[in-house]
Symmetry: C2
Subunit: 223 residues, 2 copies
C-alpha cells in the first residue's frame, strides 16, 4: 500500500544544505503493522510527514495505494489526508480553542459523517477520556492531550494510521490500552506505522525499521 523510493529531504539553511533524509526506500503491505525506531534527529518525523502527505520530499518517489502522490491534485490530496490517513502528531497539534470533543468531531464534519458527536464521544471513551470531553487542551494533562490526538486520528476509520510516538507521555498501563486499540485496528486490516523510542512498543509490530542519519540502517522481521 506504501511504496517509497529514494526519498530525500534537504533543508536550505543560509548557504548550507542540511540533508535530513538521504535516500529512504520503504515498502509496506496493506494491513501491515510496522514500527520505526531511531535516534533523536534521525529523520523519523520528517519521513512520517512525507508518508502522511503533509510534506513533499526533495527527491524520490512516493506511491500511496498505487497512486503517485506528487501527481495528485490539491483536492485529491485533501481527500487522502482526510479519509485515507489518520495522523497522530508527536506534538499533538490540537486546536487550542476547541474542547476535546470538538477537536475529535471536526474531521467527521469534513467527512459529513452521520453521527459525528456520538462517534467522537466513543473514540474519546476508547482512550479513557469519557470524563474529559469538555476540557480544552490547556485543561488537559500531557498524556490526555496525546490521547485526544489519538482519538482524532482514528475516529474517521482511516485505512492507514501514522502515529508519531503515541505513547511517549503515557504511563505503562495507559500505554498498553492504546497499544490494544492499535492491535484491534490491525485486526480490522488497518495499516499501522508507529514511530517509537520504546522497544516494548516496537515489539508489537511485525517489522521494525531502524532509521539512522536519514537512512534505513536495518530492518527487523518479527516472528
Amino acid at each position: 500500500v506504501i511504496r517509497a523510493t529514494n526519498l530525500r529531504k534537504t533543508y536550505r539553511m543560509g548557504e548550507v544544505d542540511l540533508e535530513v533524509l538521504k535516500g529512504v526506500d520503504l515498502e509496506i503491505e496493506r494491513g501491515e503493522y510496522v514500527a520505526i525506531m531511531g535516534p533523536s534527529g534521525s529523520g523519523k518525523s520528517t519521513l512520517m510527514n512525507i508518508l502522511g502527505c503533509l510534506d513533499v520530499p526533495t527527491a524520490g518517489r512516493y506511491l500511496l495505494e498505487g497512486r503517485e502522490v506528487s501527481a495528485l491534485r490539491e483536492d485529491e490530496l485533501a481527500e487522502v489526508r482526510g479519509r485515507r490517513i489518520g495522523f497522530v502528531f508527536q506534538t499533538f497539534n490540537l486546536l487550542p480553542r476547541a474542547s476535546a470533543l470538538e477537536n475529535v468531531t471536526l474531521p467527521l464534519y469534513y467527512q459529513r459523517a452521520a453521527h459525528p458527536r456520538e462517534e467522537a464521544t466513543r473514540a474519546l471513551e476508547s482512550v479513557g477520556l469519557a470524563q474529559r470531553l469538555k476540557h480544552y487542551p490547556s485543561q488537559l494533562s500531557g498524556g490526555e492531550r496525546q490521547r485526544v490526538a489519538i482519538a482524532r486520528a482514528v475516529v474517521t476509520r482511516p485505512a492507514i494510521v501514522l502515529a508519531d510516538e503515541p505513547t511517549g507521555n503515557l504511563d505503562s498501563r495507559t500505554g498498553q490500552e492504546i497499544l490494544e486499540l492499535f492491535d484491534a485496528l490491525s485486526l480490522r486490516e488497518v495499516t499501522i506505522i508507529l514511530v517509537t523510542h520504546d522497544r516494548a512498543v516496537a515489539e508489537r509490530a511485525r517489522r521494525i525499521i531502524h532509521l539512522r542519519d536519514g537512512l534505513v540502517s536495518s530492518v527487523e522481521k518479527r516472528p
Copy 2:
C-alpha cells in the same frame, strides 16, 4: 529544602469542582534526587507547577528553602523562579521566534551573567545540540526541542531542577546522556525532582514517589 503540607488543587468547571490534588505531603532534602511516577492525569504536572512556583495551591502550605512561598512578594517569586529553580516543561514551552541558542541565552541575560552566549553554547553542547544552535524550534525534532528545554533549565546553575518527563521524546541512548547530565548535577548537590513514566529513569533516583488520583499512594526508597 522542600516541605509541602496538604497541597490541594481544585479547578472550578461550571458548577462542578474538579479536585486534582487532594492533600499531598512532600518533604525533599537539599541535594536529594527524587522521581515522581503515576498514571496519566494523576496530578504530577500540577504538583510540579506548584513546587516550581508557577502555580498556587487551592489549599495547603509550601515551604521552599524555609520560606513560605505564598508570603513571597512578586519580585521575590521572580528571583526564586529565575535563579533558584530550573524547570523543564512536559511540553517544552520554547519561544518560537528565538533560535535554540537564543532560547537558552535568555535566562542568563535576566541574570546578567558574565558570558551568556558562551554558557548557553556549552549547555547546548552538553545535550548534544552543538550543530543546532541556529535552528528555530519549528526546525528541530521533538527530541531536540526537549533537549533545548533541558539546556535552558540547567544553564543558570539552579539549586533545584524540576524536570517534567525530560526523556519522553528521546531514544534510549540520548536519554542516557541526559540522565548522566542529571547525575553530574546531583553530584554537585543540586536537588533534582524528575517526573517520569519510565521505570528505568525513575530507578536513577534515591526515592520514587508514586502519585495516584491526586494523592501520594506509596514511596519507594532505593538502596
